[in-house]
């Protein structure tokens, strides 16, 4: 009975294969176990509010603390020799790798940067585990995370971007406007067609088809989702009660796409869809983007300049520890696009003398990055820091110490 034998042997192989497959799967799931121990709660944590950050608690560093009076020159790091390591936000990658190359070539030949584009959550884990010199995240650390980090932490925003709404309406070429409540209604599923009165009211005199709307969201945990849902939470009570803000949320409906490319593919493939992506991604892929009504009542197109305008309007009311979101800026900012975002560099305030070369090189590099480095932001379709924010970031960098001595200009 050859077949029966064969069948049995086959079965053995099959069971073994099944066991190995499961084992591999588990390995994949358990792989981050070491990071897990130090991993900290973040942006998805309940109770985070999109408005200005909660009051500063114990371990949060106040930026203005021990700032040195001397302002270092722009090329402060030219004699540094070190390799800096950082990890985190994928949104920061194009900017930081571009300016690190320029810095290495033009300012400090002895300094090179090794940046791991592993996502904000990974960046926070690596930073608190102290395996990198700095972390980068699309959301600042909350109080609980700072406590876990074991030392005073600085959150310094170094680059800005906007969340743009892109859409697919066949035969439509006019400018599309949305008020915040309309966006919330679409994603809540209460606005179901493109010729809904709410959308018509935002776009007087424009003909819109009687086509169903399918909202598309990011299926993977993402800083883009965080800032988008923070905006909706801030402007719409229904959204706040039903969904809230986070890196992943319980979407009331619609379709998920994996990554910006997944959202874009879903939107470009199917008529009637709307999705949100980073502005840089929309610009580079020449996607149509909608204008959004700001607090001043104007419909503003997302651009690099309208994003920086939003940042500038938020800075005066921002807390000293720079933990603030760029959503729904005050009505005084008439040219501001209301769904902005930042990427923060995460640093400790006090470093031991043992790592002085790396830390000094890193602080010098960041000093250059918030000054001369900002002019390269537009090259990679990101928005530069507002001048009033640069001043606050300067204070933060000046407060960093190595073995008790100021790191800058030492």
């Amino acid at each position: 009975m050859i077949t029966k034998r064969r069948g049995k042997r086959r079965l053995l192989a099959l069971t073994a294969a099944g066991a190995i497959a499961s084992a591999l799967l588990l390995a994949a799931c358990g792989g981050t176990s070491s990071a897990d121990k130090t991993a900290t709660a973040a942006a998805g944590a309940p109770g985070i509010t999109p408005a200005a950050a909660s009051p500063v608690t114990g371990a949060t560093a106040s930026a203005s603390g021990s700032a040195s009076a001397i302002t270092p020159p722009a090329d402060v790091g030219k004699n540094d020799k070190a390799q800096i390591t950082g990890a985190g936000s994928t949104a920061l990658t194009p900017f930081i790798t571009t300016i690190a190359d320029i810095y290495h070539k033009d300012v400090a030949p002895g300094v090179s940067l090794n940046y791991g584009s592993i996502g904000s959550g990974g960046g926070i884990s690596q930073f608190t585990a102290k395996t990198v010199d700095f972390g980068a995240s699309d959301i600042y650390l909350n109080d609980q995370q700072i406590q876990k980090a074991g030392g005073a932490v600085l959150n310094i925003p170094v680059i800005h971007w906007a969340v743009a709404l892109t859409y697919n309406i066949p035969g439509f070429s006019a400018k599309l406007n949305f008020s915040p409540d309309t966006i919330a209604g679409i994603y809540l599923g209460t606005i179901k067609t493109w010729d809904d009165p709410a959308i018509k009211a935002d776009n007087p005199g424009v003909s819109l088809p009687s086509l169903g709307i399918t909202p598309v969201h990011r299926s993977d945990g993402s800083g883009t989702t965080m800032n988008f849902t923070s905006f909706l939470t801030d402007v719409n009570a229904d959204w706040k009660a039903k969904v809230g803000a986070g890196l992943s949320v319980n979407w009331p409906g619609g379709v998920g796409g994996k990554g910006s490319e997944g959202v874009t593919a879903a939107v470009s493939n199917a008529p009637g869809t709307i999705g949100y992506v980073e502005l840089s991604y929309a610009l580079q892929n020449k996607l149509p983007v909608a204008s959004v009504k700001n607090a001043a009542g104007d419909f503003i197109k997302p651009t690099l300049a309208s994003t920086t305008a939003a940042v500038a309007a938020q800075v005066p009311t921002a807390p000293a520890d720079l933990r603030f979101l760029i959503v729904n800026p005050p009505a005084s900012a008439t040219t501001a696009y209301p769904i902005g975002a930042s990427t923060w560099v995460l640093l400790y305030k006090d470093y031991p003398a043992s790592k002085s070369a790396e830390v000094k090189a890193m602080v010098d590099f960041l000093w250059w990055a918030i000054h001369d480095g900002q002019k390269y932001a537009a090259q990679v379709d990101y928005s530069a820091m507002a001048p009033n924010l640069v001043q606050k970031a300067e204070q933060a960098l000046k407060s960093i110490t190595i073995g008790g001595q100021p790191a800058l200009g030492s």
């Binding site: 050859i2 077949t3 029966k4 064969r6 069948g7 049995k8 086959r10 079965l11 099959l14 069971t15 294969a17 099944g18 066991a19 497959a21 499961s22 084992a23 799967l25 588990l26 390995a27 799931c29 358990g30 981050t32 176990s33 897990d36 991993a39 900290t40 709660a41 942006a43 998805g44 944590a45 309940p46 996502g119 904000s120 959550g121 926070i124 169903g212 399918t214 299926s219 993977d220 945990g221 809230g244 986070g246 890196l247 992943s248 949320v249 319980n250 979407w251 409906g253 619609g254 379709v255 998920g256 796409g257 994996k258 997944g262 593919a265 879903a266 493939n269 199917a270 009637g272 869809t273």
Partner: protein
């Protein structure tokens, strides 16, 4: 080879040759034992780790985790029923489609195709298994999904929109696309195993069928397929296990929207896609632990499938009457 069998051989060698086992023999036995212990150790270690890390989730979510449908990371309310449903729906549908296709391919290769065609075709079918998952995902989202939306989903929706299976608004991304992608990914496994099983049917069986006046199709039906049945069932269960575990390609095309629906056009979600999408940015400890518990459930489902597979094959081969051994 089992240790006691090795020992028996040693005894035989002792009697026949009158000498002690060579050093090489002892080393070889040690290496084999180590390999077996390692595999079992990894499996058990992972299971223990999974259970330990799931405990915070279990304490917070309880048993209702398994049959509730809300997945809300912001408010930390977790239920996995829609993900469970999506996993089973996509994997079982893909298994059925791939078995039908795979057995057809196997029969063609073994019984009908001339040798000059059989070899390159079976090589090409096996090559399907060598394509990386992410490539299937990209193909799914950029080529297959738009094509299905325009040429399959839209016509079906226009003409049979009243049928629950084809209700909803077709957008290309969803259960149907995920099932088709999974079918293509599972097909080489099912086809290759079925081909081997069918090729192993003794030639005398076929000749006997022909001698009774059977046509080619009747020969396959009465002589080949009954003989190969257990192997084909094994092949399709292997395909099912592959379908349950497949992650990336499904995550890219399924539309990531937890929903229990019969509509093929609706976006859905699977357990493996959920872990892949959310684990990296799961930032609270309960959220992480919950995703690990999802992994544990997935593991148990795979285990169950393997057990069912054993039982099925055991039953099909005649159980104890035919001298089969269950475990």
């Amino acid at each position: 080879m089992r240790a006691d069998e090795l020992r028996r051989r040693d005894q035989i060698a002792d009697i026949v040759g009158g000498r002690r086992p060579a050093l090489g023999e002892i080393l070889f036995r040690g290496v084999l034992l180590l390999a077996v212990t390692l595999v079992l150790g990894i499996l058990i270690g992972l299971l223990v780790e999974l259970v330990l890390r799931s405990r915070p989730s279990f304490a917070a979510n309880g048993w209702s985790f398994l049959w509730t449908s809300t997945w809300d990371p912001v408010h930390e309310v977790f239920g996995i029923l829609p993900f469970f449903y999506g996993t089973l729906l996509t994997a079982i549908s893909a298994m059925l489609l791939a078995t039908a296709l795979g057995v057809g391919v196997a029969l063609f290769l073994v019984e009908l195709a001339p040798r000059i065609l059989a070899r390159p075709v079976s090589f090409m079918v096996e090559m399907l298994a060598a394509i990386p998952s992410v490539v299937y995902g990209l193909w799914g989202i950029f080529v297959l999904a738009p094509w299905l939306r325009v040429y399959v989903e839209t016509p079906l929706h226009d003409h049979f929109g009243g049928v629950p299976l084809f209700s909803g608004y077709p957008i290309g991304i969803g259960y149907l696309t995920a099932i088709v992608v999974l079918t293509v990914m599972v097909l080489p496994t099912v086809a290759a195993v079925s081909r081997d099983v069918i090729a192993a049917v003794p030639q005398s069986q076929r000749e006997a069928a022909f001698a009774l006046g059977a046509t080619r199709w009747e020969m396959m039906r009465i002589a080949v397929l009954p003989f190969a049945r257990s192997g084909i069932i094994g092949a399709s269960i292997l395909g099912l296990a592959r379908g349950v575990g497949e992650t990336l390609a499904v995550a890219m095309v399924i539309g990531a929207s937890p929903a229990i629906t019969i509509s093929l056009f609706h976006p859905g979600y699977t357990m493996s896609a959920l872990i892949a999408n959310e684990f990296a940015e799961a930032t609270t400890s309960l959220y992480r632990s919950t995703l690990i518990e999802v992994g544990l459930v997935l593991f148990l489902v795979t285990l169950l499938i393997n057990i069912v597979a054993r039982l099925l094959v055991w039953k099909v081969t005649g159980g104890e009457r035919a001298g089969g051994v269950l475990v």
